[in-house]
């Protein structure tokens, strides 16, 4: 399958440069050409074959030698009730017989298909890498929340089914979802990014600094904003802001410094009237503080450790045994895991030799 890579602009790059399509990564043609990556999409996209051809800028004539795709084509033709005889495949002819309305249908199908492929692509290794570059260049914008201090956001969907909701922005700093400020994104389908991408991205790049410290360029741009933040944090220092010592570097699989840095004490808005905080007992008092809370001592979120602490001390005998049993089981599992690569290493040469023998 050859494609017009030499052409000035492929369908994919022209699609991605369209207004409102700034969030999209350019899916590599290798990814699209691998049929495995397209599993199940045929039933979701009308005129699938034509749409795929359009995305890949493939001239229809070049598919003739491909038996499998020919079959698909015939199926498609039957569904569409196409009157063309099987031997019609002359590219010029085909172009002429395709009416304008047909083309627009294919165009929209191609967009849908591209979106669905895109959803899969950005969770793949090359795709997520491409999105990382876009993320670091701040292509997706920043969190509108004041206390997130301009944390960069990521486009995500709330549904993996197309046609349900438009694209949203996920802020890792407050773990919340926002509507893109620019209305041009209000027509982009959220399913083209998918529900998985947002979290998977930050798990793939756990060392990505999402805290406000790296945002020096942002704070340099608006000195008032940074100055206001420092003074407001001084204002809010009613509660002791310093977390207790011995904070683990990792909590629940996330680096502590990268774990929702926009939440917690000092980063929760408190409404005040003439400098006095509005009481919780007031009818209009604060009710939503929990949404932006984070324990000062991050170890409070280690539920297993807390459980063990609580119940291990309550009845020592049973739990201690259980604990030791599970502990030994755990250590055994760890030992097994440690052994595994060794074993693999031991087996691998054999396999290699077998393979080599087969090859030879």
């Amino acid at each position: 399958m050859s494609s017009s890579e030499g052409a000035p602009e492929s369908w994919i790059s022209s699609f991605c440069s369209l207004m409102g399509h700034e969030f999209f990564a350019e899916v590599s043609e290798d990814f699209i050409e691998d049929d495995f990556n397209l599993t199940g999409l045929q039933s979701q996209v009308p005129m699938y074959k034509e749409a795929l051809e359009m995305i890949l800028d493939v001239e229809p004539e070049e598919d003739e030698d491909d038996e499998e795709e020919e079959e698909e084509e015939e199926d498609e033709d039957e569904i569409l009730g196409d009157e063309k005889p099987p031997g019609y495949r002359r590219p010029g002819e085909r172009r002429h017989t395709r009416v304008a309305s047909d083309l627009s249908v294919i165009e929209s199908s191609a967009e849908l298909l591209y979106g669905l492929i895109h959803q899969r692509y950005i969770t793949s290794r090359p795709g997520i890498q491409q999105m990382l570059e876009k993320y670091e260049m701040q292509h997706f914008g920043v969190c509108p929340r004041v206390y997130c201090n301009g944390c960069k956001v990521l486009p995500v969907g709330r549904s993996d089914t197309p046609g349900q909701e438009t694209v949203k922005l996920f802020c890792p700093s407050c773990q919340d979802l926002y509507t893109p400020p620019n209305s041009r994104f209000h027509s982009v389908d959220g399913a083209f990014f998918g529900t998985t991408f947002g979290c998977l991205f930050f798990m793939t790049f756990p060392d990505l600094d999402i805290g406000p410290r790296l945002d020096s360029s942002f704070s340099a741009l608006s000195p008032t904003r940074s100055s206001s933040l420092t003074s407001s944090s001084i204002n809010n220092q009613v509660a002791p802001d310093v977390p207790p010592p011995n904070q683990p570097t990792e909590i629940n699989g996330v680096r502590t410094i990268n774990f929702s840095p926009g939440l917690g004490p000092g980063r929760i808005y408190e409404s005040r009237i003439y400098g006095f905080r509005v009481s919780e007992r007031s009818r209009s008092g604060p009710r939503m503080k929990w949404l932006r809370m984070k324990p000062l001592d991050i170890r409070e979120l280690d539920e297993l450790a807390r459980y063990e602490l609580l119940h291990g001390s309550a009845d020592n005998d049973g739990d201690l045994e259980m604990g030791s049993a599970s502990g030994s089981a755990q250590s055994a599992a760890i030992a097994k895991r440690k052994k595994a690569p060794m074993r693999r290493r031991r087996y691998n040469p054999d396999q290699m030799s077998i393979n080599g023998a087969e090859a030879g």
Binding site: V146, D176, S228, V278, R281, S284, W290, K294
Partner: protein
């Protein structure tokens, strides 16, 4: 002047203020009454804050008749805008000012909450400081009780002190019926349909905090209601809160159609 949909109640048109509130980027401001501006008591202390104070005040009240060159005029113009902003912060916490701002709030003049779970709830402008030149204007969402940066850059340069720290809280003290129903809905990050442990653990911890808050408030005799648990508490409320109900209605009448349509 009809084009500007002037909110003034004085008989003669206020050219400068009409121009000011209708010019691009000043959509958050409401028009200050003539008599509020001319009452010297309301301007206490501002003469030290604003350069060319008297000229600026004259300009704002349309009695400016100084033959100034362009440079000076520009200076005075700048001062006038600053003065207007500072008086505005004082004006919008008065009864009349609040009423005007409530109208703007209901129209959604200040924008909608960007948070998806707030479903486009209207915002209110506010400042993090009452002293000028400290921070720019922020937008407060009464539904999630958080503050956001305005999405448009033309609003991002407005001084937060022109709205002040107290205004939005004051508004809901005066119009408690406008308080939106709070929601416990939140975004749950998922990977291939599975919740993510770190976020879920934090969510559980936050939920525990919320339940603790509700319990302590109930102990104090205050009911903290959320949209999700409204159905079960509804009957209880209706049974024993008869006097409260009538009071609410009275306030609602004051607020002039206090119910908001959350849909827009």
């Amino acid at each position: 002047m009809e084009d500007f949909n002037s909110e003034t109640d004085s008989d003669y048109t206020s050219y400068w203020r009409d121009w000011f509130i209708s010019s691009r980027g000043n959509e958050y401001f409401c028009e200050i009454d003539e008599d509020y501006l001319t009452d010297r008591f309301n301007l206490t202390g501002l003469n030290t804050e604003v350069a060319y104070y008297q000229y600026a005040l004259d300009l704002v009240t349309d009695v400016f008749d100084l033959d100034a060159d362009d440079d000076l005029r520009e200076q005075i113009e700048k001062s006038a805008r600053h003065l207007y902003g500072l008086v505005h912060a004082r004006y919008i916490v008065t009864t009349r000012g609040l009423a005007k701002m409530v109208e703007k709030y209901k129209r959604g003049d200040f924008g909608k909450c960007p948070r998806v779970m707030c479903e486009g709830h209207p915002l209110l402008p506010m400042g993090q400081h009452d002293v000028p030149n400290q921070s720019t204007v922020r937008l407060y969402c009464p539904k999630c009780e958080d503050i956001y940066n305005p999405k448009s850059s033309r609003h991002a340069s407005i001084d937060g002190a022109y709205f002040g720290t107290s205004f939005h809280s004051m508004l809901f003290q005066v119009y408690p019926t406008l308080l939106p129903e709070k929601s416990i809905r939140r975004y749950e990050p998922r990977i291939f349909g599975f919740k993510v442990h770190a976020s879920a653990a934090l969510a559980r911890w936050q939920d525990q905090f919320r339940e603790d808050m509700k319990a302590s408030l109930r102990e104090a005799g205050v009911e903290a209601k959320f949209a999700e648990d409204a159905s079960e508490d509804e009957e209880l409320e209706d049974d024993d809160d008869e006097p409260l109900e009538t009071k609410e209605e009275k306030v609602a009448g004051d607020a002039a159609s206090g119910r908001m349509d959350l849909g827009n």
